[in-house]
Every structure is written in structure tokens, then in C-alpha cells.
């Protein structure tokens, strides 16, 4: 919506035809490009999240199906699968933590700005009536900010637990290596 509105505004103002070569008219065009890039990033982020969650869900349902009647080897097999899953998604999860934090902060600032605008609109008018139309946008921004920051927090916790396990695996590898050396015929 924002992109379309901006393009319409630019077309009316005649700045769209001038393009980025005119000094001040380049700003709205840059905003459109940035907005479009952010939208593409957002879609990519959603797709990446879905992929990660569906792979986790797939493994979880396979585990639940066998729960209670698993041999020790099957149980260890599931552990290896989970570890491999984290190793595969590690880079994506790191990116998601950063994106969620950055996005959360941006929406928090936007929400705070909308809230301030809502109050100042009332103060500058010198009247007791407030601009209630700004409340939904402020609440929406603050809501998205909260969800983004919570996502970032939980992803960080998830990653820290798995990183700890990966570091323990490195120690286990030393034990296994020593055992294999001792076992040499």
C-alpha cells in the first residue's frame, strides 16, 4: 500500500519521470526501493521460518509416533537428526535473530512515534480532543514490535541451548577419538 501510494504521489507531482537524477525527487524513489526490498526480505523471512518450523514439526511427529517404544539406538538416531537439523539451519536462525531484533526495534520506534504524535496532536491543537485515528497504527506497530522482539528472544534461547550441545559434542568427539585409538588392534 505504501509503495503504491508513494508512486501515485510521485506520478502526480511529476517526480517519477525525473527519476533519481533530480536531487530532491530521488528521495521518494529511494524510499519506494527500500520499501520494496524490505517487503521481499519479509517474504523471504516468512518462507525461511516456515521451512525451519516444518522440518522441526516433521521430526517431532516422527518422534511422537515412536515415543515409549524406542530402542536406545533409535533414540540416539533422533538426537543425531535433531543436531543435523540445527547444523543445517544455524546460519538461517542467526539471520532470523538479527532480522527479528532489527525489525522489532524499528516497529518499536514507529509505535512510540505514533503514540507521541497522538498525544502531541492533542496538545498542539490546544483542545482536549485527541486524534484517535492514530491509536490503531500505534497499537499495531507496538504489537508487531513485541512479537518480533519475543521471536528474537526465543530464537536466541533456542540457539544458545543447541550451541551448548554442539560444544559438548566436540568434547564427546575427543572421548570417542581416544577410545578408537585405544581400541586399535
Amino acid at each position: 500500500m505504501f509503495i503504491v501510494t508513494r508512486l501515485q504521489e510521485m506520478a502526480h507531482a511529476g517526480t517519477l519521470l525525473l527519476g533519481p537524477f533530480s536531487t530532491w525527487s530521488a528521495v521518494p524513489l529511494i524510499m519506494v526501493i527500500v520499501g520494496f526490498s524490505v517487503a521481499v526480505l519479509g517474504i523471504k523471512w516468512i518462507v525461511a521460518s516456515v521451512e525451519i518450523f516444518s522440518s522441526v514439526e516433521e521430526l517431532k511427529s516422527a518422534y511422537d509416533a515412536k515415543k515409549g517404544e524406542m530402542t536406545p539406538e533409535e533414540s540416539t538416531g533422533f538426537i543425531i537428526q535433531m543436531i543435523n537439523q540445527y547444523r543445517t539451519n544455524k546460519a538461517t536462525i542467526r539471520t532470523m535473530i538479527l532480522v527479528c531484533t532489527a525489525g522489532g526495534c524499528c516497529f518499536l520506534v514507529l509505535g512510540i512515534m505514533s503514540s507521541i504524535e497522538f498525544v502531541s496532536a492533542g496538545l498542539t491543537s490546544g483542545m482536549t480532543t485527541l486524534n484517535y485515528l492514530l491509536i490503531p497504527s500505534a497499537l499495531l506497530s507496538l504489537g508487531i514490535a513485541t512479537v518480533s522482539l519475543l521471536c528474537s528472544y526465543y530464537f536466541r534461547q533456542y540457539a544458545s541451548v543447541w550451541d551448548l550441545r554442539l560444544s559438548e559434542i566436540s568434547r564427546s568427539e575427543n572421548v570417542l577419538e581416544k577410545t578408537m585409538e585405544q581400541d586399535s588392534p
Partner: protein, 91 residues
């Protein structure tokens, strides 16, 4: 797939699969290995005494030895500890 696993995890997978004698093709197929790396892993495990090579008529199979059972048990204990001692992720 194989890049995501450590070589000890691959050893474990091969040894568990070879509890019953298996052919080379069966092992590399099940453990998702290419023939070159699969051969290297199998040669290593045979050299260390974790796998024994059996030749019945024209068919060659690999079978896990008693030493392999010790490795599998140790590996299982170490990996189970990751979930028993490290607190899990909870929402």
C-alpha cells in the same frame, strides 16, 4: 547430508546398520555416502576392528563386531547426556 554429520556420527550410523551383515551398496545408500568416502569409512572401521568383512560366494558383506557394540554404547551414552544434563529449550 554427510557434510552436516561428524565422522563419529557416520561411524555410528554405519555400525548400527551393520548389526546385521550388509553389502557396500546397502551401506552407502542407507548412510547417504558417496562410494569414495563410503569406502574410506568402511576401510577405517575394518582396520580398527569395528567391522568384519565376510565373503559368501560372490557376495561381500560388512558386519559389526563386538568392539562395535562398545563404540555404539559409548556413543549413545555421550549423546544422551546432551539431553539429560543440558536444560532443554522451553517456551
Amino acid at each position: 547430508m554427510s557434510e552436516r554429520r561428524t565422522r563419529y556420527e557416520i561411524y555410528w550410523e554405519i555400525l548400527v546398520f551393520c548389526k546385521t551383515p550388509r553389502s557396500f551398496t546397502g551401506i552407502i545408500g542407507r548412510c547417504d555416502l558417496n562410494s569414495k568416502t563410503g569406502q574410506e569409512y568402511l576401510e577405517f572401521l575394518c582396520r580398527k576392528g569395528y567391522l568384519s568383512l565376510r565373503k559368501d560366494n560372490e557376495k561381500t558383506t560388512y558386519a559389526a563386531t563386538e568392539r562395535a557394540a562398545e563404540y555404539i554404547a559409548l556413543f549413545g551414552r555421550l549423546y544422551q547426556t546432551l539431553f539429560d544434563e543440558i536444560p532443554g529449550f522451553k517456551l
